[in-house]
Symmetry: C2
Subunit: 328 residues, 2 copies
Amino acid sequence: MSENVPTLSDVAAHAGVSLATASRALNGSARTVNPALQERVLASASALGYSANVQAQAVARGTTNVVALVVGDIADPYFASIASGVVRVADERGLIVTITATGLYAGAASVEREQAALTALRGQRPRAVVLAGSRVVGAEPPTTGRERVAVVGSGAPGLRTVSVDNTGGAARLAHELRSLGYADFAVIAGPEELVTVRDRVDGFRSVAGEVPVEHAEFSRDGGRRAMSALLASGARPECVFAVSDVMAIGAMAALREAGIRPGEDIAVAGFDDIPLVADVTPALTSVALPLADIGARALELALSDDGGTEDAAPVAAEVRLRASTPRR
Amino acid sequence: MSENVPTLSDVAAHAGVSLATASRALNGSARTVNPALQERVLASASALGYSANVQAQAVARGTTNVVALVVGDIADPYFASIASGVVRVADERGLIVTITATGLYAGAASVEREQAALTALRGQRPRAVVLAGSRVVGAEPPTTGRERVAVVGSGAPGLRTVSVDNTGGAARLAHELRSLGYADFAVIAGPEELVTVRDRVDGFRSVAGEVPVEHAEFSRDGGRRAMSALLASGARPECVFAVSDVMAIGAMAALREAGIRPGEDIAVAGFDDIPLVADVTPALTSVALPLADIGARALELALSDDGGTEDAAPVAAEVRLRASTPRR
DNA sequence: CTGAAAGCGCTAACAT
DNA sequence: ATGTTAGCGCTTTCAG
């Protein structure tokens, strides 16, 4: 009793027209079709419960309506926010989003995983691909076929990039923190191979000077571990800058475990301004990035026709001071 | 200079073999192929940078390797966690996951959007679809073609369901809260049409009795608004149960805005135990759901061969008491 | 405006 | 074991 899915020929037969006419009636072909026939075909289609096989359409047309999104970890609020922007514009344009997670590995593993993901993606012949996974310093820009790809964050020459002003944002944050009276800093960072990490650290240091940096995984636990390590080494900075909010939250947890009150004994600042960051206590000072918009923009950029690698102006990163860094 | 993507025939020609042999060499066909030829074909393939067109494969094979995921909003940590589980098992099995967002609307809008999403999905001929968007009370189970679908949360007869013990979890939460000394409750809920919402409210009430319920959107802002409304109406419960953590966090914000200390003046509890919930202050009491596992399980269930609608045992929901509901 | 027929890139009988 | 040849479901010339 294999309920066979109706095909276009079924519809054509049912409506008593040719395959070609059925096709033209059901999709916005350039050709027009007699309204009466149009009507009949539509009726038959819905009578049979027809729905076009997009794969077949893709093969016939030689072009898909798939856009691929590559993220580190979709459960991470940073990527999830970007993804929501991508999904929104894709839905608006009737495109299908496929999603691949590379995991947030360091070094070679990361490059490999990203390359593997891209290779797999090529088979999908996506109209566009948005790479939101952090790229590795010095790594070759991921090779893609001829598909349009846009990268979020740390661009690469030759790839369309929604560049984020990581360096400037971190620098401004450092500046604001100094204005608040902080002079003694430490930095908690993700894997140092990641361009984003490097940029944020560099930006911060450009203002704060040669502050100690502790690296760990790019996660809440990484933040916790890095903070613990810092404390274990005897460091007692006035203020800790974590290169991502997720790490900052881990750092706060580590402080509490050590009996240190974040925001009071040691100030904490993060980066990204993910949702909920204003809801932790003390509310976390952060550098806001319009993540969903960035995702939306990345897809639009990837999809856009103008050939060039025209990086639009970098997305501004805005410092948001909150209770975790009180005036000192 | 349109770099034409190499096709299988190109590879076959380059290797001097037939299309069929090339196909068999490059994919794990049942047939085997002479190692020498195999070698040649593989070499040609990589020389030309060939990568199989999955769409064409799908058409030829009559089956895709796409699984579709329908969520309310991918930026919501609840859905994002589920998605990460789905993506994980899909990646393991070499499946592509496509993602559609319905938005978290109430009532008719929700049903419509979900149906629209499903209709669009049918065109993809997915191997399986996982529905994580909350279903509406009394609505027809979403009609799907013959594709395997699994629903997360509030099941529907006839659909494979990873059922979550929302009712029991909420009931146990109420019980624990009473044990802590709370007697006077209020509930902050999402749209009352959602089955999940109804179940959690019912479960809570089954133990706590006829407590007042304030409905709002299923979001942080909804939680904030609902809490404000409650306060404006003069309510001063000892403890507020928000049917989701995201709403609970909004409720806490509303309390603070009103000069009320969450956890001290009014206790707050949530549901889902999303990441970071332990990091807000006071740490939020919640009912833990293994979201990523639920996603993984849903996909496995949708994919599974055994025909039936065998709902596995409901996923246990575990109460996690934290500082937001101190002993009273 | 409509229909017949040739593909799209690949797989799977069916020969050989 | 390899090659030939129909298709898969759809679009799109190209004729009528």
